[in-house]
Subunit: 411 residues, 2 copies
């Protein structure tokens, strides 16, 4: 790992100066190589599937692992999407003159070396590698042992792209081992790795957050709330709540708890029924649980649970202040939304809720770099340092100050 | 410490919503209180001085510790300077519309809880406390044991200001012990303290950087370089080099190594002599050391040494690329400057030198938040995450996304 770290830093210093066209060329050649190596990729993936079945992975995990023609094309196409994104490196973030006559500008530079630790999805190898590269960073990838053969071959295609574009092959390195120790070592590589990004389930993220000495961009969970205010347009509330819960239940931006103002308790059934009708289990407080025989009574634990499944906890609260209070205790700081036509209540919610993303009259499922216009994202961060919310190209950069003078000395 | 942490987080949630006027009122009342308690402050400081003399502190350390009428007035006045600074909280950093109809804004919010660990200067208690407060953060201060009595009384004045303005007294807490364990505990308070800022000598910063599990804003040292290019205006070079080294030799932005293009080796004496004439010891490479009998030959160690004293290492290099190469190996990433009339060389230097601050035709001693127009700073950071360069009010904030819709659901 030490050798990989040194090579990554060396590559990073080259990448920091690489022109956009060169980085894009590497990405295009990598996409071409992925398409050209489709049959080899499918063969490698078959080995992973067999290994996964031997290890008795769940069907869901096997599905995540699996590549087919369409998925390989999607991986190649997503590299081409990253080519289209603006290169943040060299952007002048701010520029001003000082009374001393000095002209000061704050200019984006790459972060340096990024470590990405992920689980079974082999496409992360390409996505994460490409995003880091486009922002001028070297990256050390540590994929899941299940996707070892697939990731190794995808990595080969990325390296073919780098070399074809005249960039260091070490710009994107893959830890060439299934050894779990590699993760522990990466987490201690301060001064070598600048940021660790874990991509995967709760146990992976938790381990990384607990053990890492390197700063981490991540979210542990997304316990997202929708609060329906007394002054809500009930049709909007029904649409937003249904979409926030049921569009996809397994993503971090899915609503897990629905809060409804007690003043409109008589409209609660209307809001909840369409969700239950799609097969979602409802776990409510006493009033809500009594609405329908199929509804269950929520336990204390429910208010702190990220289901990632068609289960929803529902609670009546006493207005926006009480909603904010519940969220401040139970939220994971990811995304919360208020539905109301009352702009005062909306602004209070937007100001006081301390989450990465706070919304008014919108589904929490919009919590996504693409929907924010940031292009591809490497994840969503709930920390407060450097990156918060979707982590896209800009969040994978740092900055420096360039100061231009005419011979100034300081009095 | 756990209790202090909990109280700080509670205070932080109140401070996050506190209006600018209320924070400013607390600062003004604290300044008033400092002036009103001048004689008590002097008495407390005398206790610290006696303790320091018993502990055989150096004269320089005793001087740093010492308060007098002028210094107390300066502390009060610096609080009033912070009142004048714009409050960054609530600033809209960016705002845009998405095709979905969602309006997205990125809004500044406080970081949360900041831990400041410092040594003997009692004024840091006031400065650091006030800066964190103005940016809406709660702060836990851990002052040096030498300034214990002075810091305790300054802290009392700050708390008087907070209470007078109706803000939580726990917004600014001082660790009420000389126990060194407190530092170790603070460094492990992830999830409670968001950022640690060490203020002090190398050994303190090194300990904090090595042990902290909480992200750190700091610089370990400032090995700053000035490179005089072949195309430099020699008069400018003389002025900039003299100022960069000798204006104040003990600050982190002071030049420690002077690089001169070998093509103008015949002008080196002219540039160095005025510096030596002010009593600066010159340690040069073979050519430079031979210029004057009083000059010494530099050892390998000199190129990696932050003297913070009137000592300067001087080396001839082969043009701007070689200068950049030397800096990339020996710099601490703080501040470097090129003196040249050649704009191509200047831009190459500004682009390729990977330091927090890179300058053209200006003294490295301008590396300062005030000179950058950022107002007071809590320090200068050489890390690449979140803050880099001067750490002022803006760098003590985070942000969140506010999303305003009209009932949008995600397709």
């Amino acid at each position: 790992m030490t050798g990989m770290g040194e090579r990554a830093r060396k590559a990073a210093s080259v990448l920091a100066q690489a022109p956009t066209e060169q980085k894009n060329k590497a990405l295009q050649l990598a996409a071409d190589s992925l398409r050209a190596n489709k049959s080899r990729l499918l063969a490698a993936n078959t080995k992973d599937i067999i290994y996964g079945e031997e290890k008795s992975l769940t069907d869901a995990m096997i599905d995540r692992l699996k590549l087919d023609d369409a998925r390989i094309e999607a991986i190649a196409a997503s590299l081409e999407e990253i080519i289209k994104l603006d290169d943040p490196v060299g952007d002048i973030m701010a520029q001003w003159d000082q009374p001393s006559g000095l002209n000061i500008s704050r200019v984006r530079v790459p972060l340096g070396v990024i470590g990405v630790i992920y689980e079974s999805r082999p496409n992360v190898t390409a996505d994460a590698g490409a995003l880091c590269l486009k922002a001028g960073n070297a990256v050390i990838l540590r994929g899941g042992s299940e996707s070892f053969h697939s990731s190794t071959l995808i990595h080969e295609c990325l390296v073919e792209g780098l070399e074809g574009a005249g960039l260091p092959a070490d710009s994107i390195q893959l830890v060439p081992t299934r050894d779990r120790c590699a993760v522990g070592m990466m987490l201690k590589m301060t001064g070598v790795i600048d940021i660790i990004v874990p991509r995967g389930g709760r146990s992976l993220v938790e381990r990384v957050q607990n053990e890492s000495r390197v700063p981490v961009f991540a979210h542990l969970e997304g316990i997202c709330h929708v609060y329906v205010d007394a002054d809500a347009d009930i049709e909007k509330a029904k649409d937003v709540a249904l979409n926030a819960k049921m569009r996809r239940t397994g993503i971090c931006g899915a609503m897990e708890t629905l809060l409804i103002d007690r003043k409109i308790a008589d409209r609660a059934a209307e809001i909840i029924e369409p969700i239950a009708a799609l097969g979602c289990e409802i776990r409510g407080d006493e009033t809500i649980a009594a609405l329908d025989a199929s509804y269950k009574l929520a336990t204390d634990e429910d208010w702190d649970t990220e289901y990632l499944e068609p289960i929803l906890s529902v609670k009546l609260v006493d207005g926006v202040a009480d909603a904010i209070g519940h969220i401040s205790v139970h939220s994971s700081g990811h995304t919360e939304s208020i539905v109301t036509e009352n702009s005062e209540a909306a602004e209070k919610f937007l100001k006081c809720v301390d989450s990465a993303i706070v919304m008014h009259n919108a589904s929490t499922q919009f919590a996504d770099g693409g929907e924010f216009g940031m292009g591809a994202e490497i994840g969503i961060a709930t920390g407060r340092i450097h990156a918060r919310g979707p982590v896209g190209l800009e969040q994978l950069t740092s900055f420096k100050y360039q100061v231009r003078g005419t011979g100034q000395t300081r009095p």
